[in-house]
């Protein structure tokens, strides 16, 4: 390592930069959006959910987490506190008061929404996250460096981090049961739901069914499919009898989450002009100030003579 002096380091780093530049120019042949028009989704009908939490049990079981006895999940005491998905519970069900009928509370399941334009994918600096053709947003532990940018970027605050683990902690979130759904199966939570409050199917078909339900039963449903357009559309969508914001589903506009950050990033670095201009400007200032010092020095030296 003794050979690494300043000159060699500069040579090495410049070579690396050009190499990566070459790599990116090759990658430009890849499609810009590989989402399938038949991609799958899940329609969550909160008016049917009974809050049995079987989905939580099924999720843990199918992901190899310690699930325990399913009967314990039927205890409704947990609803006293609002819960969020955790590193070993990718999905949680919460309960809200029903203003229309106090005897039937509203239960809402939370998990990764599997955005069509995921912010986590955009924010991940090593490409550990990816949006798959059939809708699933998955995470690759082999690539992850644990920066947790995804956690900050997610508009639904879904990715979680295994803080307890000192060595090789994982970023955890619902993977849409990729193992099952990539082989034509259905997610574990959808399979176990006793009332089919979770309906798995092609996203376009789900939107059609959701519209039909709203039309047939305008008193039962708010005329809004949460996730159809939010943050550019999500694979998981919600129907509810009350406003989505009352169910702690964050209010989002139709703009994609990475759309804003990416446009800023791309704008800043467009054709290298802005950074070059900035550095040139800084360099100019440096040069001028340096020059001024030299002139002063010369003047001082001349005066001294």
């Amino acid at each position: 390592m003794k050979n690494i002096n300043r000159r060699n380091f500069l040579k090495f780093s410049s070579a690396l930069t050009f190499a990566s530049a070459g790599l990116t120019s090759n990658a430009k042949a890849a499609p810009n959006n590989i989402l399938s028009p038949d991609r799958m989704g899940v329609l969550v009908d909160t008016t049917h959910c009974v809050g049995c939490r079987n989905c939580e049990w099924a999720c843990k079981t199918s992901h190899g987490h310690d699930a325990g006895d399913i009967e314990k999940y039927h205890n409704r005491e947990v609803f006293k506190e609002f819960r969020r998905p955790k590193d070993h519970s990718f999905t949680v069900v919460n309960e809200f008061e029903n203003p229309k009928n106090e005897l039937i509370p509203i239960n809402v399941k939370y998990q990764c929404m599997h955005c069509d334009k995921p912010a986590c994918v955009s924010a991940c600096i090593v490409g550990a996250f990816q949006k798959n053709e059939m809708g699933q947003v998955t995470w690759d532990g082999g690539k992850c460096i644990g920066c947790r940018y995804c956690m900050v970027a997610c508009p639904f605050q879904i990715p979680t981090f295994e803080y307890e683990k000192a060595i090789e902690p994982n970023i955890n979130k619902c993977d849409f049961c990729f193992e099952r759904t990539s082989k034509g199966g259905i997610p574990a939570c959808v399979e176990i739901c006793p009332v089919e409050a979770l309906m798995f199917g092609p996203r376009t078909e789900l939107i059609r069914v959701a519209r039909q339900r709203i039309k047939r039963n305008p008193e039962r449903y708010k005329n809004h499919i949460y996730g159809e357009k939010e943050v550019g559309g999500t694979s998981w969508m919600y129907l509810s009898s009350v406003d989505a914001s009352q169910l702690k589903l964050p209010k989002h506009k139709d703009k994609t989450a990475p759309g804003v950050s990416e446009s800023i990033q791309h704008g800043i670095f467009a054709y290298f002009v802005p950074p070059l201009a900035l550095y040139a400007w800084l360099g100019g200032i440096m040069w001028i100030s340096k020059r001024r010092k030299e002139i002063i020095q010369e003047v001082v030296e001349e005066e001294a003579k």
Binding site: L10, S13, S14, T17, S20, A21, T24, A27, K28, A30, I34, D38, M40, H48, V50, G51, C52, H74, R76, E102, L103, I104, S122, C124, V126, G127, F129, Q130, N132, E133, M134, D140, K143, T181, S182, K183, G184, I186, C193, P194, V195, E196, F200, G201, E205, L206, V209, Q212, R216, Q265, H266, I268, F269, F272, P275, L276, Y279, L282, G283, K290
Partner: protein, 428 residues
């Protein structure tokens, strides 16, 4: 010249930053996806055939009183091409059967699960539904023919082509839980499912088979306090509406909610301590009056809305015509023939009894047997102008006789039994 090295470093750094953050990120992302793309291509949505119909329509159902277009979308449906409109249909077709017509117990064992079959007390639920939504509260979108099984429309597979209606498991659970979870606030599977290995299985099935809805407590009188200053109280005699006016339960209680009685928390919620947590359900003017308006449409508000509690209806105090003893067991409509109109009848017997004519009337029927002298007189001799409602006059013939102090015969007591009057002669 020393500075030139620094500028080169700056330039390289700039280029590196641009490439890494500007575009590299996005391209790298897709690069990694290309690798996995071949793997995803095998993924296909599994399609299943719709379940075969469990019940068949009767052959002559085309003659039934229902528009063919309710179920068929083409002009001439055939067996091979029935062109059925998929459920849920726009128009509701409903079935109406008595609770006894259906099965007593239905064992729901179509889905093999971990929790065992459900023994469903069909008759009990059918009886209860008579006061609520009726058969169609479960058998919705049924045809006019036989009552269809759930599986006829609801497919047993969760992965299926037609997502417009829930699968069989969901259809069962939604029907049951929509009511059951309201009063128990629980989603315990064992509340309905009986495990095949359970030692109490036989006992549990027997219990369900024998279960009957407990007798419903009928109130005698309810006094409603309304929001109006004038006519604040409405007194409702429930027993009288049932017994005297012969209204059956369903004529008022057709849209009942099980929760009116079954909610375990309702009592607690109704206590004063829970006042702050209680939400007042606002009923519209129409909803409030709906139960009464069917019969009382023509009545003024003051008929029911009074400042004090209303006395029980009594025919004598209200109209002056005593129903005792011979008219007690009659239905109101036997005399008040005109529907909804209870006014305009005369107290005079002949206004109803046209057969009470001269020489035909057996005077013993009113409890007075005329003696021989009076029996030969014509009616108008005592009853002036043949008006039987007024007191008979004796002073045309007698100077010192007055009815009812003096009688033109002897009194007989009457025994009313099985709506028929029998007479026993009794000496005065």
């Amino acid at each position: 010249m020393k500075n030139y090295k620094l500028y080169i470093v700056l330039l390289f750094l700039t280029a590196g930053t641009i490439l890494l953050f500007g575009s590299n990120l996005k391209e790298m992302k897709y690069l990694s996806q290309v690798e996995d793309k071949n793997q995803i291509k095998t993924q296909k949505y599994v399609q299943t055939k719709p379940a075969e119909a469990a019940g068949e329509m009767p052959k002559d159902h085309s003659k039934m009183e229902i528009d063919c277009k309710t179920c068929h979308y083409c002009e001439y449906p055939t067996i091979n091409e029935p062109c059925l409109i998929s459920c849920p249909r726009k128009d509701m077709v409903s079935v109406h059967h008595a609770a006894d017509e259906g099965p007593e117990i239905v064992e729901l064992d179509m889905i093999k699960g971990d929790y065992g079959v459900v023994v469903f007390s069909h008759k009990l639920h059918a009886e209860m539904s008579e006061m609520s939504g009726g058969c169609e509260s479960c058998h919705h979108y049924n045809t006019t023919g036989p009552v269809l099984k759930c599986i006829t429309c609801h497919e047993p597979n969760r992965i299926r082509e037609d997502l417009s209606k829930p699968d069989l498991e969901a259809a069962y659970h939604r029907q049951c839980l929509s009511c059951h979870r309201q009063w128990s606030r629980e989603t315990k599977c064992q509340a309905c499912h009986i495990n095949e290995n359970s030692p109490d299985r036989a006992k549990a099935i027997q219990r369900i088979k024998n279960s009957k809805h407990p007798a419903v407590h009928e109130p005698e009188k309810i006094v409603y306090e309304t929001i109006y200053d004038k006519g604040k109280l409405v007194t409702f005699y429930h027993d009288q509406h049932v017994n005297t006016y012969n209204l059956n339960c369903v004529s008022c209680h057709h849209d009942e909610n099980c929760m009116r009685c079954h909610d375990v928390n309702l009592k607690k919620l109704r206590s004063d301590a829970m006042e702050s947590q209680r939400k007042k359900v606002h009923k519209s003017f129409e909803d409030h009056h709906q139960a009464c308006i069917k019969c009382h449409e023509k009545d003024d508000c003051g008929k029911c809305h009074r400042d004090r509690e209303l006395q029980r209806f009594d025919h004598f105090t209200s109209t002056g015509f005593d129903l005792k003893p011979r008219h007690t067991n009659l239905k109101c409509t036997s005399c008040h023939k005109e529907a909804g109109n209870y006014k305009g009848l005369s107290k005079n017997c002949t206004s109803c009894h046209s057969n009470f004519a001269e020489g035909k009337f057996d005077h013993r029927r009113i409890g007075l047997e005329l003696d021989e002298v009076h029996a030969d007189l014509s009616c108008g001799d005592c009853h002036k102008n043949n008006n039987f409602a007024n007191q008979p006059k004796c002073n045309d013939c007698h100077d010192d006789k007055y009815f009812p102090h003096d009688l033109p015969g002897k009194k007989i007591s009457l025994v009313v039994k099985d709506n028929k009057v029998t007479k026993t002669v009794k000496k005065k």
